[in-house]
């Protein structure tokens, strides 16, 4: 009897392999993650590098009113240039990131020892301008406290008096952990690829079968109905696994081909053993992805309807992975109890080369497999009912 299951799988494989347009679209989704991540590393890596290396050019209006300040800024490797006639318009237009305006009263106030006002024109919402803005502000604050200290010293007051506290920052973020924000998005792309590998096949084999009018004659063949549900689910597994392999190879290739070390200042250890481990961790998700989609597609009336649900279904379990990039979650037991979430944390741990509890791997795999079995059982029940014909 079991060989009849393989007959169904075999037929669906042949049928779907001939539908090359669908599975090529599926393959695109597998490459989507590596391409996006590669692009982000390139762009953001370059920004990091530019930020550290490029000298800051600061447009200044009224530079002649504060020769002292200008000399100080130039000492800080800041290149001073005359500001455009309308600095605000230039900032709004994005021609310059920041402009310093030295008002007419400045030299008077400065000489009188009063608090002198300087104006910075900036757009705080523009992310790309923030390094320039921060550097300008830092330089101005340094100048302010430098002059302040001088003035106090002249009056015979110790500068310590106005420095009530000094903040010493102990930043535990290594350059590597900054780069790992990118890496934390990997689980999201991996799970997304698994779901998208399976969905064209499942859509065609379930909702498509009904739409073509081939489901009714198929179900008259002497097999328990549930075998059809199982056969269709299993036939999507090789496609999902292929997508998983392609995605993982894509990530490996990107970390190998791109000068990640130059761009991010860290080396990422996505070696063969880590890839194999991640692949094994994801295998239960493959079955769950196929089972869930078989179930959903079993009660959609048309392939079009299935096509509106399935990408959404793949998004839900992969979203926590996206959140993990910004909200680190500890690998506690409860996280392992949630199928796909546990795996995403485990993948992250692998990428961070953290010690991993074998029991966590077992628990998350077991629960995911159990859920896949439960979902398959529901799909089988659906196939045994009369409504399977009409959807």
């Amino acid at each position: 009897m079991i060989e009849k299951l393989f007959i169904i799988v075999q037929k669906e494989l042949l049928d779907n392999l001939r539908d090359y347009r669908s599975w090529i679209t599926g393959l695109f989704w597998a490459l989507f993650g590596p391409l996006i991540l590669g692009g982000m590393i390139m762009v953001l890596g370059n920004t990091f590098r530019d930020r550290a290396e490029a000298p800051l050019t600061l447009p200044v209006s009224g530079a002649e009113r504060a020769p002292n300040l200008i000399a100080f800024l130039e000492q800080q490797d800041i290149i001073i240039e005359p500001a455009p006639a309308d600095p605000e318009a230039a900032v709004i237009a994005g021609d310059i990131n920041v402009a310093l305006i030295i008002p007419e009263e400045y030299s008077e106030e400065f000489s009188a020892g009063e608090t002198a006002t300087l104006q910075l024109v900036l757009d705080s919402t523009r992310q790309s301008a923030s390094p320039d803005i921060e550097r300008t502000e830092d330089a101005l604050k340094t100048y302010s406290s430098y002059i302040g200290v001088m003035r106090l010293s002249l009056r015979g007051v110790s500068p310590e008096v106005v420095r009530v506290i000094q903040i010493e920052e102990v930043d535990t973020a290594t350059p590597q952990s900054q780069a790992l924000i990118f890496i934390s998005m990997l689980p999201y792309f991996i799970i997304f690829a698994i779901f998208n590998g399976a969905s064209p096949v499942i859509t065609d084999a379930t909702a498509g079968e009904r739409e073509r009018g081939s489901l009714e004659p198929l179900l008259i063949n002497p097999l328990p109905r549930g075998w059809f549900a199982m056969g269709k689910m299993l036939s999507a597994v090789p496609f999902a696994i292929t997508n998983l392999l392609i995605t993982l190879s894509g990530f490996a290739a990107i970390f190998r081909l791109l000068p990640v070390e130059d761009l991010l200042g860290v080396q990422i250890g996505l070696d063969v053993s880590a890839l194999v481990a991640i692949f094994m961790i994801c295998l239960p998700i493959v079955f769950l992805a196929c089972a869930i989609q078989t179930l959903i597609a079993s009660f959609t009336k048309t392939t079009k309807e299935a096509g509106t649900y399935l990408p959404f279904i793949g998004l839900i379990p992969s979203l926590p992975g996206l959140a993990l990039a910004f909200l680190p979650v500890k690998p506690d037991l409860w996280t392992m109890l949630i199928p796909t979430f546990g795996q995403q944390i485990l993948i992250n741990q692998f990428l961070r080369s953290e010690p991993i509890l074998a029991s966590n791997i077992w628990i998350s795999s077991l629960l995911t497999i159990l859920l896949a079995i439960a979902v398959t059982a529901i799909a089988i029940k659906l196939y045994e009912g009369e409504r399977i014909i009409s959807g």
Binding site: K11, L14, I220
Partner: protein
């Protein structure tokens, strides 16, 4: 051999089939005649195990459709109302899939496929993908795959629907041939002429119920009408939905 006893089926409030009983013996053609929506397809669907009857029973070669559906499925060949093919597979692959699901050994299966191909005069389209086939060509593939396991009972739902004159003729000859092979043939139709020309026994269904049953002669006698067509109309009460 198909035996139907008091079969009923409702969908919500709609009583699709009510208390339908008939007997279709081997070596005979039994026709279910009735207007569109009379309950013919629903009756057939219960016979080929797709729908479960609300009440009553149906037996194929002595096997109950509800208790032993797999035994029934092995003994029937069905041309269902839905007769979709796999358009990316060739005719041969379509037929082979069903043959393998019936557990036929591959050597025997290939011979059987070739036999059906010549019987249905479809050798030319055997190794072409079924995408773009004409209605007649698709029907041939659908029939070949339904008969690939040489079933003793053949159920055909509106087999000549959508066919041109030549294909209809060929289809009718094929049905007669099945009778000559000693099979129990049960088919539905809303075409009076077709039923009159082919059937040994006619079951007239309207409004989900059997309104008359018997050989063409029996029906003429029962209604006192000269022609079979007049007899049908007399039984059903109107010509609506018939051709």
């Amino acid at each position: 051999m198909i035996q139907v006893q008091g079969l009923s089926k409702s969908f919500g409030k709609v009583k699709a089939v009510q208390d339908v009983s008939f007997f279709a013996p081997d070596g005979q053609i039994t026709g279910l005649l009735g207007p569109n929506g009379a309950g013919k397809s629903t009756t057939l669907r219960m016979l080929y195990t797709l729908l479960k009857p609300d009440s009553g029973s149906a037996h194929v070669d002595g096997f109950d459709v509800r208790q032993s559906p797999l035994e029934v499925q092995r003994r029937i060949g069905v041309l269902a109302d839905a007769r979709g093919l796999y358009s990316r597979l060739t005719s041969r692959e379509n037929i082979r899939y069903y043959g393998r699901l019936h557990g036929i050994e591959s050597e025997v299966l290939e011979k059987q496929i070739d036999r059906l191909a010549s019987l249905l005069d479809m050798q030319a389209i055997m190794d072409r993908k079924t995408e773009g086939f004409s209605t007649g060509e698709k029907l041939k593939v659908a029939i070949a795959r339904a008969l690939v396991h040489e079933p003793k009972n053949v159920l055909l739902d509106e087999p000549t629907n959508g066919l041109d004159v030549m294909s209809t003729r060929a289809m009718r000859q094929f049905i007669v041939r099945l009778r000559e092979e000693g099979k129990c043939v049960l088919f539905t139709s809303h075409i009076m002429q077709e039923v009159a020309a082919l059937c040994d026994q006619i079951v007239i269904i309207s409004g989900g119920e059997v309104s008359a049953m018997g050989s063409p002669n029996d029906l003429r006698e029962q209604t006192g009408q000269e022609s079979l067509e007049d007899a049908f109309v007399a039984v059903i009460g109107s010509e609506e939905g018939l051709e």
